[in-house]
């Protein structure tokens, strides 16, 4: 059989979010893989520049559903650093608690998705049923199952009562029991191991060269975790291990994520047993003084970097978000080549892709001449007006919008 070019995506049952992987197949082996991203670009960074910091908080939170608290906390920490605020201790404990609960929720979700990609639907159903415990706890603490909106500039908006602490501890006990079972399954179930072992190999030197972060890097033995290297919120006072594994393949990533769940339970218990009393919020100015700051955060998928530049008004001048999946995407072509077609879905799922987080900037490249250019705001506006004119739509002639006359 000759070589065939098979498109995985943008729409494909294996992908939860649109991405384009063009796989060159020889029989069942992958000869080359080409990654194209950009289907999820929503212009969030530009939208942040025309909204106040308080409104931006909610916009940044909705970059992604699974790591929403990570983005929100990272952004808030950056803004607080520019403004020179230091939040009360109780607020940082509550932020860390919600962050760890989000990590639990994200890793359980990943376990289910990985099970579904290899055809193991029973694991999928079980882990998502256990995830419901975490969702209920989060809904009780913050008022919503995703997009928790618990942060505000200067602290947190919700308090946690003694009853709620007991509920969380009870749920953590149940979840710890179930997670130990999943660790056993990951180590013992033969069909699972034969699908995951040796697949998507990414050794340590390649990790450092391509810049992978998060569980992908830790599965190759690279001991990098922002919670340990550059502690933020309440992590400086917590005792936990940074889990690494030396398999350097998908099985290693599974083991790292499942064991990180156990570490999260340990951290949650320490947080709840030692949470200090105190105020929840310090008064924050509406107009943030001029300055810029960069903050890192350990999202469930890896290292999340936010940069904010302010100019003294109540709207930021520039916001830049670098999601962890962007760092891990560079490693995908390396991991896919030489493998089987049957491994493509699980390798893509093993970096825990969240393409909604990833797509940020647009670089326009002319398909015929190959030259690239970067459009600024006015250039983009002129381009779109010209494009619509070529389709026969004159934007100035539109009289009604959303039922209201303009």
């Amino acid at each position: 059989m000759g070589k065939i070019l098979i498109p995985i995506g943008p729409q494909h049952p294996a992908l939860k979010e649109p991405e384009s992987f063009n796989i060159l197949l020889e029989g069942e082996r992958v000869a080359a893989a080409n990654v194209t991203i950009g289907y999820n670009h929503r212009g969030i960074e530009k939208a942040c520049e025309s909204r106040t910091y308080i409104q931006d908080m909610y916009l940044i939170e909705r970059i992604c559903g699974i790591c929403s608290h990570s983005h929100s906390t990272c952004f808030i920490q950056t803004v607080e650093e520019i403004a020179g605020l230091s939040i009360p201790k109780r607020a940082s404990f509550i932020r860390t608690l919600i962050g760890e609960l989000e990590r639990v929720h994200s890793h359980l979700l990943w376990l289910g998705v990985a099970g579904h990609e290899i055809g193991f639907d029973t694991l999928f159903m079980y882990s998502w049923r256990d995830r419901e415990f975490v969702m209920d706890i989060l809904a009780m603490l913050t008022g919503n199952r995703v997009n928790y909106s618990v942060n505000t500039i200067g602290g947190v908006r919700r308090d946690i009562s003694a009853d709620q602490i007991q509920e969380v501890l009870k749920a953590v006990d149940i979840l710890e029991n179930r997670t130990e079972y999943y660790i056993q399954v990951a180590y013992e179930e033969t069909t699972l191991i034969s699908r995951l072992a040796g697949v998507g190999r990414l050794p340590e030197d390649v990790v450092m060269r391509l810049g992978a972060t998060g569980p992908v890097a830790r599965a190759a033995g690279v001991k990098k975790d922002v919670r340990r290297d550059d502690p933020y919120a309440a992590y400086a006072d917590m005792e936990f291990n940074v889990i690494t594994d030396d398999h350097a393949d998908v099985l290693g990533r599974t083991i790292v994520r499942v064991k990180e769940l156990m570490e999260s339970y340990k951290i949650i218990r320490q947080l709840l047993n030692s949470i200090p009393d105190g105020p929840l919020i310090v008064k924050a100015p509406r107009k943030i003084p001029a300055g810029e700051a960069v903050t890192r955060y350990e999202a469930p998928r890896g290292e999340d970097v936010h940069y904010v530049k302010s100019n003294g008004t109540d709207m930021p001048e520039r916001v830049k978000v670098r999601a962890p999946t962007l760092a891990n995407l560079a490693a995908i072509s390396y991991m896919l080549e030489g493998g089987y077609l049957a491994d493509v879905p699980i390798v893509i799922a093993a970096i825990d892709p969240c393409f909604s987080c990833t797509d940020r900037m647009i670089k326009v490249s002319n398909m015929n001449s190959g030259e690239e250019s970067i459009l600024d705001w006015n250039g983009l506006r002129d381009y779109s007006i010209k494009w619509y004119r070529e389709q026969g739509i004159e934007l100035n002639n539109i009289k009604t919008f959303r039922g209201e006359v303009r």
């Binding site: 498109p7 294996a14 055809g119 193991f120 639907d121 029973t122 069909t191 049957a342 879905p345």
Partner: protein
């Protein structure tokens, strides 16, 4: 003549087979759901799925061979249904037994898999091509242990007819205990033949979208789905007739009830296999069948030959 037509078309022929296959699909899906702590579909779900598929538009890609596209599902359905005529339903005798009908049943069960390959190949779609090649590879891997597993019990009985095998084991039920390795091989190889997890690589939804059936829709897909269900009934009835010697030759109603119980037991075992295992890759599946299943089937034949020698002496 009238009774023959009635038995072919209604009971235990086509209509009974169709309804029973829907019931078996419901049992399979409901058990699968309960194993996963879910509620599962209501009893009329497979019938509703069939009616929904039949009422949808049939889209045929312009590059595909239109005549073959339409004929293949009918071929598959016809051969799978015909195989049921030679399997005993309420006693030890099937409808039209003759010497050698075990081989005919096994051949008739191979034809649907070949039609899946042809359907995928002539769809001219990328995913369908890959799916059809995988179907053929799986055929080469799992047919050999399956055939050999059914060979074992037949050697002992000395006949090549399913009804003959069934009546022999009805008379000497204890000899069925020697067929246990063959039963294990037959169960696992049928899981491969029916393309269910862990051997559903030809129709891996998360990798190649729909496998050989990617371009099929509407009535033709409904016929293919019905074929797969009927194949399941035929295979489990065959396993029940050859390996599990519980018949009631005197009372037909009791015999029919025993048939239902035996086939449901086989379906139960197949569903358990579906729930606790992950999908294997193509080369892992081929390795597994040729390294473990075929030697086990050979051991079964060896046991049977030794037993035959002991009995003759």
């Amino acid at each position: 003549m009238g009774t023959a037509l009635f038995s072919i078309l209604v009971f235990p022929g086509f209509i009974f087979l169709g309804l029973y296959s829907l019931i078996i699909e419901f049992v399979d899906r409901k058990l699968y759901a309960r194993f996963q702590n879910r509620v599962g579909p209501p009893w009329f779900q497979p019938l509703a799925d069939f009616i929904k598929l039949v009422s949808k538009e049939t889209i045929i890609p312009c590059e595909a061979d239109s005549r073959l596209f339409r004929i293949l599902p009918a071929f598959a359905l016809a051969s799978a249904s015909t195989a049921f005529l030679y399997i005993p339903v309420w006693g030890v005798k099937s409808l039209f037994p003759f010497e050698g009908d075990l081989i005919v049943v096994l051949y008739l069960l191979t034809i649907p898999t070949l039609t899946f390959f042809l359907a995928g190949w002539f769809s001219k779609s990328l995913y369908a091509e890959i799916g059809s090649i995988r179907t053929l590879t799986q055929l080469f891997a799992c047919e050999v242990p399956l055939f050999m597993a059914f060979l074992g019990p037949a050697i002992l009985t000395g006949t090549w007819s399913v009804s003959g095998v069934a009546s022999y084991y009805n008379a000497h039920p204890l000899f069925a205990l020697f067929n246990i390795p063959g039963l294990i091989v037959a169960l696992i190889a049928s899981q491969g033949k029916l393309e269910r997890v862990p051997f559903d690589i030809p129709e891996a939804e998360t990798e190649i979208v729909g496998g050989a059936f990617t371009e099929y829709s509407g009535r033709l897909l409904a016929l293919f789905r019905m074929t797969i269900d009927i194949e399941m009934v035929v295979v489990s009835a065959l396993i029940a007739a050859v390996f599990i010697p519980l018949f009631a030759t005197s009372l037909p109603v009791l015999g029919f009830v025993l048939f239902l119980i035996k086939t449901l037991l086989v379906v139960f075992l197949l569903t358990i296999m579906r729930s606790v295992l992950a999908r294997l890759r193509l080369e892992q599946m081929v390795n597994f069948f040729w390294k473990y299943m075929t030697p086990l089937a050979l051991i079964q034949i060896l046991i049977v030959l030794i037993l035959k020698g002991v009995l003759a002496a």
